[in-house]
């Protein structure tokens, strides 16, 4: 009896690759689309106001992007698993205040310790979110909407009318966003490396792929024996921890921290993630795309500022981009499905 079918044999090379190339090309179009829009904004703005391309302004935009891009990395992990984390702005705010006030309370406290404290605060709230969503089986939209208010409320109780001012912070701390290597902010390089690592993790590790699987079809994920609760919990814990670290960076960048720090950031971050091509119902998208989304939003913000256009337009344009991104996604997904289906039927007959 031949037993070739059930035994693993040395693999052969797969023959047909047309559909794969199509799917891959589309996902690349999605990311290059953001780059095109970005280039367009930069070109138009620089044409009107050359100051936009000054080294200082580029550095400013890059540093500004780091905050949103880091938050978007955590948010991407959560959104890919068909969840959402709306508490990141509040976590950022609490972490920013508590970590920055350490400098006033303990003179000479090492900066890494302050970052660890920020990370701890964020991780704590991320665990709360993760437990409620994974173990409590409450929809994440509701859970994180609730913790958004709870964390902000606790923050206001702690801070009261007080604030941390820049003069209580050591220079080496407030210089973090200002240091550059060859004209590029250190911070931007570090964040780019973190995002690259995050993207690699999501692409190339089983636990990362399982987040996509959960978001793509939760029922099938359960049948495949994936520990959905554990993976989702981890995504929230990571998102919280990142928001905690970003809070410390926020304090370093702005110097002045009161109880309103980070208010509304969650919406910008979700916008960046969706504009960056992460499907809001999970299953697809990349960390690099989300970071590009963040870069696009902060570039637009800066462009409008440089052009002296009212802040109102910033929000209106962000909203418009969101609609555009969702519309394009919808069209691409319908077309792609149709194209892939056509290929299968053509081959079958």
């Amino acid at each position: 009896m031949t037993d070739t079918l059930l035994r693993r044999e040395p693999p052969e090379t797969p023959a047909e690759t047309g559909s794969r190339r199509l799917a891959e090309r589309v996902s690349r179009i999605r990311e290059s689309g953001i780059i095109v829009v970005l280039a367009l904004f930069v070109a138009v703005t620089a044409g009107v106001q050359p100051r936009f391309l000054s080294v200082t302004n580029i550095q400013f935009v890059l540093v500004n992007t780091t905050i949103y891009a880091l938050l978007a990395l955590g948010e991407t992990m959560v959104v890919i698993s068909r969840n959402v984390d709306l508490s990141v702005g509040s976590v950022l705010g609490m972490s920013a205040y508590l970590s920055a006030s350490l400098f006033g309370q303990h003179h000479g406290i090492p900066i890494p310790v302050v970052f660890l404290v920020g990370l701890g605060i964020g991780l704590g709230w991320g665990i709360v979110n993760g437990l409620l969503v994974a173990a409590g089986r409450v929809p994440s939209l509701v859970v994180t909407l609730a913790t958004l208010y709870i964390i902000r409320g606790v923050d206001i109780l702690i801070v009261g009318g007080g604030m941390v001012t820049a003069n209580t912070l050591p220079g080496s701390f407030t210089d973090i966003p200002k240091d550059t290597v060859g004209g590029i902010p250190d911070l931007a390089i570090a964040v780019a490396a973190v995002i690259a690592a995050g993207a690699y993790y999501l692409r190339s590790f089983r636990s990362g792929r399982e987040l996509y699987a959960i978001g793509s079809n939760p029922g099938a994920a359960r049948l495949a024996g994936i520990t959905i609760g554990g993976r989702v919990f981890t995504a929230f814990a990571v998102s919280g921890a990142i928001a905690g670290v970003v809070g410390v960076l926020w304090a370093a960048q702005y110097g002045t921290v009161d109880s309103t720090a980070g208010t509304g950031y969650e919406l910008t971050v979700v916008t960046a993630v969706v504009v960056g091509g992460v499907a809001i119902f999970g299953g697809s998208g990349s960390a690099v795309g989300a970071a590009l989304g963040a870069l696009l939003l902060s570039t637009i913000n800066s462009a409008l500022y440089v052009l002296g256009i009212s802040d109102f337009w910033d929000q209106a344009i962000a909203g418009f981009l969101l609609l555009l991104a969702i519309t394009i996604d919808r069209i691409i997904s319908v077309r792609l499905t149709a194209a892939l289906r056509l290929r299968s039927t053509r081959r079958a007959t």
Binding site: E9, T13, R20, S216, N217, L336, R347
Partner: protein, 506 residues
């Protein structure tokens, strides 16, 4: 290459398995024996217990009694994962894949080949998946995403997954129901490849010609019990049909049919591409017309199209001679059509609402005074219909979820009867309800017909069809295959027409 399966020891044996759900005994005596290298057919009518048996093999259900042996050793399967570990893989009619992941990842999710540092070895994964498809003789690209795959290809992916897990027992639950002829041929090639590699395939199908084409042995089930297991060679289709049906007709018969009146519902050449083709039927006042056929033959889809839930591509639906607007349940309701859907929990009822609110739901327009729904009027209407239909409930304000299945079905019927419909479409009106309530529903339908309502009833239960209806239309693969009057019809004939064993001219 033919082996002599008789000499091989069975790789799987299920002995005298029983399973009940509440009062319903779905499986009384389920037995099956699979030998390596055979394709073994499992046939039986809808409700014969095949699906329950499959779910026991899949580790989804645990039997109340009986034993399961794999390789001669007794096993207890508590979960689908344990069934897989024991070498049993189930391919369902409509597989559940991850649409956003590649085909290769769908096969290897959670078990991807790794490089040092626990990174996924994408190339090895693609190559292994490609090798599996190569051995199955199917040119499926492992690197494409699963979205957009045909059902046939999705099944191939599931089969590939089963092979990658070294499954030796592959259960295919009605795999061909949604496949084209070319796709069925390809699946048969795959089944042959699996057999020649020594795997046992349990093949469940309603199409008897497929059983004869691909299987070596066949097991027939009826009413939850094993009837016989025999080699396919030497059996005729008639033998199988008789064994599947062979039950005594119940004694109860409806009273004489009222003389049918004018044609109320007229459906002409209704077609929805790929779903049903050229369906024409007429329901007269006072007549019960049954739409029989196998699950998946397009009966429910025709009913949904008539009521306007789904689109149709060609044809007309007319009520009392006036054409209905397409795809508009509102228009159908205004013309006097009522629709009791197959799945009452999902589609027939709002489970969170009370008995009273559910009954009144389709009659809100009549209950409205100055744009407000009067609670008193709603309660009056609900009480009236609850008494007429003998609905057993605690209070009318109790949640409808607290009622038994039979009483829930009566609530759905009451909802439509309160509108005094001219035509009532009922889809599987007695599925999952107890025998006593079943008889009440049958009598209710007959009484409605006597009052002049035209009824179109979809049912998979042949005794019900023969008992209640005046005329029987049989659908097969999206077309009307035969028509009988009640006097002419027998279970054997309907089953033959539904499975395509004899060409029956209309």
């Amino acid at each position: 290459m033919e082996k002599a399966p008789d000499e091989l020891k069975p790789v799987l044996e299920l002995r005298h398995a029983a399973k009940s759900f509440g009062a319903v005994q779905a499986l009384v005596d389920g037995s099956i024996e699979l030998r390596p290298g055979e394709a073994h057919a499992l046939v039986g009518e809808n409700g014969a217990g095949k699906s329950t048996l499959v779910k026991i093999l899949a580790g989804v259900y645990q039997p109340d009694a009986g034993s399961l042996l794999v390789d001669g050793r007794e096993v207890v399967l508590h979960s689908p994962a344990m069934a897989l570990a024991a070498g049993i893989a189930v391919i369902y009619q409509e597989p559940t894949l991850f649409p956003d992941l590649t085909v290769a990842e769908n096969i290897f999710i959670g078990r991807q080949p790794l490089l040092p540092g626990r990174r996924i070895d994408r190339r090895a994964m693609l190559a292994e998946a490609g090798a599996i498809f190569g051995r199955l003789g199917v040119p499926l690209d492992p690197g494409r995403i699963a979205r957009g795959l045909s059902i046939a290809d999705q099944q191939i992916v599931e089969i590939g997954k089963a092979l990658s897990l070294n499954a030796r027992i592959i259960v295919m639950d009605e795999p061909t129901a949604a496949l084209s002829a070319a796709e069925v041929d390809r699946l048969f090639d795959v089944v042959r490849a699996l057999r020649s590699a020594g795997a046992a395939v349990l093949f469940i199908s309603h199409r008897l010609e497929e059983v004869f084409a691909i299987c070596q042995r066949v097991t027939v089930m009826r009413d939850g019990a094993h009837v016989f297991t025999r080699p396919v060679a030497g059996l005729a289709a008639d033998d199988l049909v008789r064994a599947m049906v062979g039950r005594e007709l119940a004694a109860w018969q409806a009273g004489l049919p009222a003389a049918p009146g004018e044609a109320i519902l007229q459906v002409k050449r209704l077609t929805r591409e790929g779903v049903f083709v050229d369906v024409s039927l007429t329901v007269r006042a006072g007549e019960i017309v049954a739409l029989a056929g196998l699950v998946g033959s397009g009966r429910t889809e025709v009913a949904r199209a008539i009521f306007g839930i789904d689109r149709y591509d060609a044809g007309t639906v007319a009520v009392r001679g006036r054409d209905l607007r397409r795809a508009s349940p509102t228009a159908a309701m205004a013309a006097g059509v009522g629709f009791v859907p197959e799945d009452r929990r999902q589609q027939g009822l709002v489970m969170e609402m009370s008995v009273q609110q559910n009954i009144a739901l389709a009659s809100l327009r009549q209950l409205r005074q100055a744009w407000l729904i009067r609670a008193a009027a709603e309660s009056r209407l609900a009480t009236d219909w609850a008494i007429r239909l003998k609905i057993r409930y605690g209070r009318l304000t109790d949640s409808v979820a607290m009622l038994s299945g039979g009483n829930q079905q009566k609530v759905v019927l009451a909802k439509w009867l309160a509108r005094r419909p001219a035509v009532l479409i009922v889809d599987e009106p007695t599925r999952g309800i107890d025998v006593a309530t079943k008889a009440e529903v049958h009598q209710l339908l007959v009484k409605l017909a006597q009052d002049g309502v035209g009824i179109l009833m979809i049912s998979s239960e042949l005794p019900e069809v023969l008992r209640v209806s005046d005329r029987i239309l049989v659908m097969r693969e999206g077309r009307l295959a035969a028509e009988y009057s009640r006097a002419q019809a027998t279970e054997e004939e309907i089953m033959s027409a539904a499975t395509g064993q004899q060409a029956q001219a209309l």
